[in-house]
Subunit: 149 residues, 2 copies
């Protein structure tokens, strides 16, 4: 709180920044009064999507290249058409995915990442890397917890 901090560094840099857990704590401390747990909280809003069963898989399915509805379905075999449709619609509504209809016969519809959609992959990749770095430690912790008293 009262630690001296050199302000001489580029303030884009995190050279002397507080550790991440304290950064986040402060971000949320300021926000709490108003809307942390409110349904409007944009962070919760996005976190809910990230954590939901299909959104991530659908985004990843579209990461490499645009795909048609049934292509995506084949990429994720155990998603129902209902859920795939709903997930894609939400992603389109949020502007992460673009939808193009080609009036061929039979009709074909192509889904692709938007510019904004591509940008999610940066933080997401960070998260996946954390998982890869940590999942051994987590596994060990679980084993230990489960075999304890």
């Amino acid at each position: 709180m009262d630690r001296k901090r050199s302000k001489a560094m580029s303030d884009m840099e995190q050279a002397d920044a507080p550790p991440y857990h304290l950064q986040l704590a402060r971000m949320f401390a300021e926000r709490r009064k108003a809307d942390l747990d409110a349904p409007l909280c944009p962070v919760r809003d996005v976190l809910d999507r990230v954590g939901d069963k299909w959104t991530m898989l659908v985004l990843i399915a579209l990461a490499e290249r645009p795909r048609r509805f049934s292509e995506v379905n084949r990429t994720i075999p155990d998603i129902s058409k209902r859920m795939l449709s709903q997930t894609l619609r939400t992603l389109e509504r949020d502007g992460l995915v673009l939808r193009s209809v080609f009036p061929t016969n039979p009709p074909s519809v192509e889904y692709r990442l938007s510019e904004l959609g591509r940008t999610v992959f940066e933080p997401l990749t960070m998260l996946v890397r954390w998982v890869e770095r940590s999942h051994d430690a987590i596994g060990t912790a679980r084993k230990q917890y489960d075999t304890s008293p």
Copy 2:
């Protein structure tokens, strides 16, 4: 796939690395055959937690300093004891949170982040920043989607 890439740079650096969405796409492409959608997939496993209703809020509640059970409860007023207890237990089991019982009377129990627990905040902060950068764009996209045909 076959683009020339200078290997002269530090391979810790991402100077000439492919964009994140392609990185992730490849990570998962390799993994898909085995266990992408399997319940064992560690990424899905963690993502489920990140997206669940309370885990993030509890972690943030513990970010600044250790807290007792009822302190956390006051920090997150709308969580039930049942859910708080369950969330804390899961976090403890995963080794992200440490639990210390002090045999005072009445008993007091303190929860705090483990070393591993603190490390989650780096990727999480990235994600929160992405939300802050993007939520205007998302809001605009939604408004447009909702007022369209």
